[in-house]
Symmetry: C2
C-alpha cells in the first residue's frame, strides 16, 4: 500500500480578500499536486496579519505532510510572512547570510542600491533552506514541512518547479471523466448506488449549467487502474441506459 501524502496551502494577502487581485496560484498548485500524487486537502486565504498567519501555519503543518504558502515575502512593510512563519516555529527571523550574499551580488551587478527594504527579502527563520528564485533572485524558503513562496504567479510557479522534485509523492490518484447529458437530479440515485458498491473509489458529480440547461461531469477517482476502470464502466453504462435527450 503506497503512503497517502497530503498537503495544505495558505494564500497570504489582503489584496486577495479585497478582490483587488484574483488568485491564480490555488488552481496551479492543485493541478501540480494531483499530477504528482499528493492530495491537496485544504486551502486557507488569510490577511496580512501576523496572528492569522501563525495560527494557519501551526494548524496546517501539524495535520499535513506539506504546507505551501504564497505571498508576503517582498521588501515592503506589509510583507510579514517570514516573521510570522518564524514565530509559528518559535525561531528567530534573521537576515540569512547566503541570501544576503545572493541579493548583494544581484543588485551590485545591476547598479541598484541594496537598501534596507531589499535586505528584508533575505530574512528567514534560522535554519531555513532556500527555495531558488530564477526570476528575481530573492529566495523563498523551507522550514520543517512548510514551503514559503512568492505570490506573483510567474515567480510562484518557478519556485514550485524547484520544490516538486524534493517532495515524496504518494499513490497517484487516477481519474476518469464521464460526460452525462442529464442534470444531477436524474442520476443522483443510481450514482449513489455505484459509489456504495465501489468504496475504493471517490465518485464526484459536478453540475454544469449553460444555455439554460444542466449537464453533469461525473468523475471517478481511484488509486489503482483496476478499481478505476470497474467503477468507470458502471458509470458509463448507467449514463448510456438513460433515455436520450
Amino acid at each position: 500500500m503506497t503512503e497517502i501524502v497530503t498537503a495544505a496551502m495558505i494564500v497570504i494577502g489582503d489584496e486577495i480578500l479585497s478582490g483587488r487581485t484574483k488568485d491564480r496560484n490555488i488552481g496551479h498548485l492543485a493541478d501540480m499536486m494531483t499530477a504528482i500524487g499528493i492530495d491537496l486537502k485544504e486551502v486557507r486565504i488569510v490577511p496580512d496579519e501576523e496572528d492569522e498567519i501563525v495560527d494557519a501555519v501551526n494548524a496546517l503543518r501539524a495535520r499535513h505532510t506539506y504546507v505551501f504558502t504564497t505571498g508576503g515575502i517582498g521588501p515592503t512593510h506589509d510583507d510579514i510572512t517570514a516573521d510570522a512563519v518564524a514565530k509559528a516555529f518559535g525561531l528567530p527571523c534573521e537576515h540569512d547570510a547566503k541570501a544576503m550574499a545572493l541579493l548583494a551580488e544581484s543588485y551590485a551587478a545591476r547598479g541598484i542600491e541594496f537598501n534596507e527594504a531589499r535586505r528584508r527579502m533575505a530574512r528567514m527563520p534560522r535554519g531555513a533552506a532556500h527555495i531558488d528564485n530564477p526570476v528575481s533572485t530573492a529566495p523563498g524558503f523551507r522550514i520543517g514541512n512548510v514551503h514559503v513562496m512568492a505570490g506573483v504567479p510567474s515567480i510562484f510557479q518557478a519556485m514550485l518547479d524547484n520544490v516538486v522534485p524534493t517532495l515524496k509523492t504518494g499513490a497517484k490518484l487516477l481519474s476518469a471523466a464521464v460526460r452525462c447529458p442529464h442534470g444531477e437530479g436524474t442520476i443522483g440515485g443510481p450514482l449513489a448506488a455505484i459509489q456504495k458498491a465501489h468504496p475504493d473509489t471517490i465518485i464526484g458529480s459536478y453540475p454544469k449549467y449553460a444555455d439554460g440547461s444542466f449537464w453533469t461531469e461525473l468523475v471517478v477517482r481511484a488509486r489503482t487502474p483496476e478499481a478505476l476502470e470497474s467503477a468507470r464502466a458502471e458509470v458509463e453504462a448507467m449514463v448510456a441506459a438513460l433515455p436520450a435527450r
Copy 2:
C-alpha cells in the same frame, strides 16, 4: 464610529482541491463584500468530508458576522453541505416543506420525476430560511449567520444578489491606487514611513512583474475620505520624487 462587519467564506468541494474545477466564486464574493463595506477576513477551501465542513463552519461562524458557503447542495451523494451545516448547529437536517412544494411544482411543470435524489435538494437544518434560486429553483438557505449557496457560479451569483440586501453593512473601506513604475525594493523604506505616519490607513504594496521588469501597485485604504486623501497624496508625492525610469 461605524461598526466593523466581517465575513468568512467556505468553498466546499473535492473538485476545487484537485484542480479539476477552477474556483470563480471567491473573487466574486470578495468584490461584492468590498463594494458594500464588509471585510472578508478568511476563506477556506475544504473537501467533501463532513468533519472538515463542520469544523470550518463552527470555527468561522463564531469569529465573524457572516459566513458564506458555496458548493455541495445538489442532489448527489457527494452533496453533504446541508447535513454538515445542520450538524455544526446541532440541528436535525430535514426535508423542508416549503422547498418540497417549490421543487414538486417546478418538476411537475416540466414533466420530470421528483425522485429521491431531487428531494435531497429540499433538505436543510430545521428552522433555516430560504435563499431564493431564480436560476434552477432549488433554494439555498440561511441558518444563524451562515448562508449556504450553490457552487455553480451563475447560481451562486444569483443567490448572493438575494442575500446582499439582507446584510447589515459596515463602514465602507475606501481605496485609492497609485501606480509606481519602480519595484518594491525602491519604495519599501519610504512607504513604511508613510504607513507609520498614517495608522488610520492600510497601505498595501502589490508587486507586478511583466516583460522582464517590476512595477508596483500601491493601494491606500481608509474608512474616511480625509484619511484616504491625506495618505494617498503622500504616496503620490513619494513616487513623483523618485528618479524617472
